[in-house]
Symmetry: C2
Subunit: 197 residues, 2 copies
Amino acid sequence: MSTNLFKVDTFMPRGDREQKLKQRGRVIWMTGLSGSGKTTLAHALERALFNSGHIVYVLDGDNIRHGLNKGLGFSEQDRLENIRRIAEVSKLMVDAGLITINCFVSPTEALRTLARTIIGAEDFLEVHVHCPLDVCEARDVKGLYAKARRGEIPDFTGISSPYEAPQSAFVTVDTSKYDIAFCLKQLLNAIEPRITL
Amino acid sequence: MSTNLFKVDTFMPRGDREQKLKQRGRVIWMTGLSGSGKTTLAHALERALFNSGHIVYVLDGDNIRHGLNKGLGFSEQDRLENIRRIAEVSKLMVDAGLITINCFVSPTEALRTLARTIIGAEDFLEVHVHCPLDVCEARDVKGLYAKARRGEIPDFTGISSPYEAPQSAFVTVDTSKYDIAFCLKQLLNAIEPRITL
């Protein structure tokens, strides 16, 4: 048996995978009110990046809350743990060479600072999907604002719980003033230099 | 503003990413005693698969226990939660199109069944890295067996806690009888048809 059977090499560095994927791993972190357009923009961005040759993966409530974060509620502690785990998963994916698009309301600076700290500032591209509350509420795609106004959802961001807008987002798009095509172009212009090797 | 701003499309399917990556997403789950050679084989396998064009990522204690699963201990409940989260992360990575190599002792059928159930049997390739306890203990690469014998590590698999060998592993390699090159060849022969589109 070879004597170096248990020689401990390091695993392959991130850079090797990035070279092969021809992209830099990054987290595009979309924050904004419910109904601001995070998911719609994420779809559009995912498709655009994929079509330009990238490997992109969307993390959102659908694939996180029913799986990894099943059992977490909406207490302050659980919200922190929710974001902490999402950030840790994103960090692993970035290390794997992927670009993730994360769609989470993530309403406070504390939550986003936690994510930024775990992921690393260099890899954390904060996108503020801005849209005034009254516009989001008028849209009310999922009927959540109506429910929140009736008091059926406690601590609903914008209604019974604050949304703290990012102070220095990597890029801000305003879906109340501009259509998706325009917002997407803004995003791509900002992001492309950061994902290019 | 476009009226279909909030039309909910589905995100891109896994198959699109797999086509681009020219591989099937899978989890190669390596189970075995401490010192059986999981990490060494994982290094070799990662390098071999990368060299044949694949995008592979290793999940092990180093990148999981200090990050996502920080704070979990070794009680039965925490061990289950540890494996549950690892399985959920692996599932997301497979959905992203990646091949993951997971190195975790995962000593019981219950733990591995949990992982298989979450990941899905089709994507879960269980590798038993077999090596008799006395050989692992003689190697004692990390000095853990000595510590466990001195009673300094409670519930140490093989010493004070059982290891249940898999009953129907996808592939079994025996690192006490064969060298790494041979074990690697066995692994590649078994795995390659399952990661090829």
